[in-house]
């Protein structure tokens, strides 16, 4: 049976369970003199039966769907006749794909060897069996659950507590998903990175000055060993981020100060949302803007002044990235500036300081930890920003601090290494995960530090 139909069937069974549990509780209650003699409301008895019926079988369904393909594949591949056994990992995957396509009927069996067709047929057979076993198991489990939930209905059964305990665990499970996601991220980048560092030493990667990840197809080709020195990428990332910060920090900070301290209410109500529009624009739009409008404009402008500005210059990408980050800094700075107690301003003004002196010498120092944290979060965002640099920055890794030249960044390289055809064990693909690990570590440290400052700062004035 199709998984979706099975799911619907199980939901129906669940509804039946709810109804059965509820009506049994009512039947139990009537001779006792009404539902006030039950421990819980009838709905809780119904819910209890529903949970017993649906949860175990749903759990089974999910586990089965996740693992059945892997299990079937390994059974099929381990039962291969001797002449088909593949020699390498790549051949293994290729063969597996072929068999799977044959079994699905996507690929015509014309012209394939009889042995292969037999294997494909056995795979198709296994799939059918797996579906039926799954259906049978789920239905049996659901029925047992239904019966159990129904049996347990009794006047003194604490159905509400039982339901609420399950609910609490479900809620906890949802909350823990954040932890699982973090673990998933760490493991997915870590495992591949460790594999990568087996073929490329860690220090060569972190301190190497040459980045050219093109590995040759044949061993004896020229330049067959790519070099994976990531320093040019780090420098490129920092260069573009620095340009972005150079734009975003003064503009974001000053507009936050103006909106929080000076502007009238009407300016604030219109200017603040208008600036925040910038935060809602997708990064791919900024990338397009940077690549097709800002970069040619800068190039022509540079030509007028006798400067050669590359059409993929770090300047163009950085400027546009800075614009993207303006609302980020301004809204964070706005939050911390408005959180500074009014009494501090009043004190300063009463001593005869002008408004700007108050802002510069009292408000900003008081808000400084929050502002610094905001800037750090903005830096972490600039480092991890992908689309703008993929579209507007270059691909060639150049070790330079000149923003008029073309540089490449960590994120650009991750994207170029992982889009298009790839085999999963070449150092080229694994390098992307190593870069991802670097990116994740750096942004994680920045975030943790910044969030820590924000938290401390918030406690200070609360």
């Amino acid at each position: 049976m199709e998984s979706l139909n099975l799911l619907l069937l199980m939901l129906t069974l669940g509804a039946v369970a709810f109804y059965a549990g509820r009506s049994r509780s009512l039947a139990v209650a009537t001779p006792l003199g009404g539902i006030r003699h039950l421990h819980s409301l009838p709905n809780y008895y119904g819910l209890n039966a529903l949970l017993w019926c649906a949860l175990p079988s749903l759990f089974l369904l999910i586990l089965w769907l996740v693992f059945d393909e892997a299990v079937i594949n390994s059974i099929v591949m381990s039962s291969l006749p001797a002449e088909l056994v593949p020699s390498s990992k790549a051949d293994y995957n290729l063969l597996l794909n072929k068999i799977s396509n044959l079994a699905d009927g996507i690929m015509s069996s014309k012209g394939q060897s009889a042995a292969l067709i037999a294997v494909a047929e056995s795979m198709a057979g296994l799939r059918v069996i797996s579906q039926w076993v799954l259906t049978a198991l789920c239905l049996i489990l659901a029925t047992i659950g239904l019966y159990w939930g129904w049996r347990r209905v009794a006047a003194d059964f604490r159905a509400r507590q039982s339901v609420e305990r399950v609910m609490e665990n479900l809620l906890l499970g949802c909350a823990c998903l954040a932890i699982f996601t973090t673990i998933g991220i760490v493991f997915s980048v870590l495992f591949e990175s460790i594999q990568f560092f087996r073929s490329v030493p860690f220090f060569d990667f972190v301190f190497g000055l040459d980045w050219s990840p093109q590995t040759a197809i044949r061993e004896d080709q020229v330049g067959s060993s790519g070099s994976f020195g990531a320093v040019p990428l780090f420098v490129g990332t920092l260069l573009i981020s620095a340009v972005a910060m150079f734009v975003a920090v003064p503009i974001g900070l000053m507009s936050a100060i103006y909106l929080a301290e000076y502007s009238g209410k009407s300016v604030r109500t219109y200017a603040k949302p208008a600036l925040e529009v910038l935060a809602g624009v997708p990064t791919v739009v900024y990338g397009f803007f940077a690549a097709l409008t800002v970069a040619p404009f800068l190039r022509d402008l540079g030509a007028d002044f006798g400067l050669t500005i590359s059409s993929e210059s770090a300047l163009a990408a950085g400027l546009v990235m800075g614009v993207m980050i303006i609302p980020f800094i301004s809204s964070l700075a706005d939050d911390v500036i408005t959180a500074v107690p009014q009494a501090m301003r009043d004190g300063s003004l009463a001593m005869g300081a002008t408004h700007s002196e108050t802002v510069r010498k009292v408000v900003i120092p008081a808000a400084l930890p929050g502002i610094v944290a905001g800037i750090m979060l903005a830096i972490s965002r600039a480092i991890g920003e992908t689309m703008i640099v993929v579209m507007a920055a270059g691909l060639a890794a150049k070790l330079t601090a000149n923003p008029l030249e073309s540089v490449t960044t960590v994120t650009v390289q991750i994207v170029t290494l992982l889009t298009g055809d790839q085999e999963f064990d070449s150092p080229k693909t694994l390098a992307a995960f190593a870069l991802g690990l670097m990116l994740f570590t750096v942004t994680l440290l920045l975030n943790i530090f910044a969030l820590h400052i924000v938290k401390k700062y918030r406690e200070q004035y609360e």
């Binding site: 996601t181 998933g184 997915s188 503009i251 000053m254 507009s255 103006y258 997708p282 409008t293 992982l418």
Partner: protein, 426 residues
């Protein structure tokens, strides 16, 4: 005495400088805001000025004679015949008829290039839909090739861009213009078709459907899970190290670069669980993990804003903690949660980088029909088109951006409206 006079003198002489620096400071602020707003304006004006043209396309009028002999078709019910028929011959002969003075192979080839090379297929569909036309002649507006389209539009604007046309083609367009047989009309392809290598044939419908399916899955998964997590953290979690750890994780995930989620999707969903590449399921899963922190954080804020007196009243009436949450807190916090969900969805709709990692950059012509069909999404389509060398794609890309931005605008406006309309102040 003289000392305080000195001080007064000092203060007086510094007043001018201080007031100047005061007004300067104020101007810094104004300039910063003006630069910010100018950036918003420049972005939108640039996109709209580049993209508005793509909603119209150039069409050329010719008389198409649906000649069965020319096509090699005797009956429209005969599928193999339709497959083999020479559909291009229809517009080729019509064009030759229109420009009867054209001779020579290369000239003719240039002539045929006036119209889109998908024209034969369009004519086939038109004939199959209107079988009575077989053997008849009909005057029809044919979609022009993208180079012609670019030239004609730029020519109408007074700055002709003719780099990719020959002199003869320009002459022909001039002639068509004088006869009134070339015009701009609404570009239906843009909103009704999937992607294509030919700019004039390409549309965003496939990408919009892909985005819709992906977002639907994201919403189905992330909203319940996010709300459940928020309820747990706000209402039930004990104040201990473990809860703190969950919170730290959520806050960090909210700030992790989106491309990292793409790496997670690639390593976990595709390489470990063998979910197929390029399908909305895997896109939806990745975007769910990405938007969860946003939804959890906004939902928690919504729950927090429900005053404790409501909980206390319900508890006082004998409700259990779950009854308090389900019957009182949740309904009151729902508008805020929905607002958060819409904001999260808007973020997911604009996201590109993680989807590049999981293969949603493939060139896909067909319109996805379900969660397991290969698909691409609107922002990725924009990325792909922006990368295409054809000049006509610049216009298309900008138009696609306009569509994307209007979706986002609608979502954000509805979030604001929802908050204004349904949120209660206590």
């Amino acid at each position: 005495m003289s000392n305080s006079m000195d001080n007064l003198q000092k203060i007086k002489s510094s007043l001018k400088r201080r007031s100047r620096s005061e007004s300067l400071f104020r101007w810094y602020g104004r300039v910063a805001i003006i630069i910010g707003l100018a950036a918003v304006l420049a972005l939108f004006v640039d996109i709209i000025s580049k993209g508005h043209g793509a909603f119209k396309a150039t069409y050329i009028q010719v008389d198409i004679h649906y000649d069965g002999d020319l096509l090699g078709v005797t009956s429209l019910a005969d599928k193999p015949q339709l497959m083999q028929a020479n559909w291009d011959a229809l517009f080729k002969s019509a064009l030759r008829e229109k420009f009867s003075d054209v001779s020579g192979r290369s000239d003719k080839r240039q002539l045929y290039k006036l119209v889109s090379n998908g024209t034969g297929f369009d004519l086939k569909e038109h004939l199959v839909a209107n079988p009575l036309l077989l053997g008849e002649t009909e005057s029809q507006w044919l979609l022009a090739d993208d180079d012609i389209d670019t030239y004609y539009k730029s020519w109408l604007d007074g700055e002709p861009y003719d780099a990719r046309l020959t002199k003869k083609q320009i002459q022909w367009i001039d002639q068509l213009h004088q006869q009134g047989d070339i015009r701009l009309q609404l570009n239906t392809n843009l909103l009704t078709r999937g992607d294509s290598r030919e700019p004039e044939q390409a549309g965003i419908y496939g990408a919009v459907m892909g985005s819709l399916l992906t977002l639907l899955l994201t919403l189905i998964l992330s909203f319940p899970i996010g709300v459940a997590a928020a309820i747990y953290l706000e209402e039930f979690a004990a104040k201990n190290k473990f809860t703190d750890f969950i919170e730290v994780n959520i806050n960090n995930l909210a700030a992790v670069p989106s491309i990292i989620f793409g790496l997670l999707g690639l390593a976990v969903f595709i390489n470990f669980f063998h979910v197929p590449r390029s399908v909305p399921i895997v896109g939806g899963l990745v975007l769910t993990l990405m938007t969860l922190p946003t939804i959890i954080i906004t939902s928690r804020a919504a729950i927090k804003s429900v005053p404790p007196s409501i909980r206390e009243a319900a508890l006082g009436m004998g409700a259990s903690r779950y009854q308090v949450v389900l019957h009182h807190v949740l309904p009151l916090a729902l508008p805020g949660m929905l607002t958060g969900a819409i904001i999260g969805m808007a973020q997911a709709l604009g996201e590109t980088a993680p989807l590049l990692m999981i293969g949603m950059v493939a060139f896909i012509v067909d319109i996805p029909q379900g969660f397991t069909d290969p698909a691409t999404v609107l922002p990725v389509q924009i990325f792909l088109w922006a990368d295409s060398p054809e000049r006509a794609f610049i216009e298309k890309t900008s138009a696609a951006i306009m569509v994307l931005l209007s979706f986002l605008l609608i979502m954000n406006i509805s979030a604001v409206w929802l908050r204004k309309r349904l949120e209660r102040r206590w």
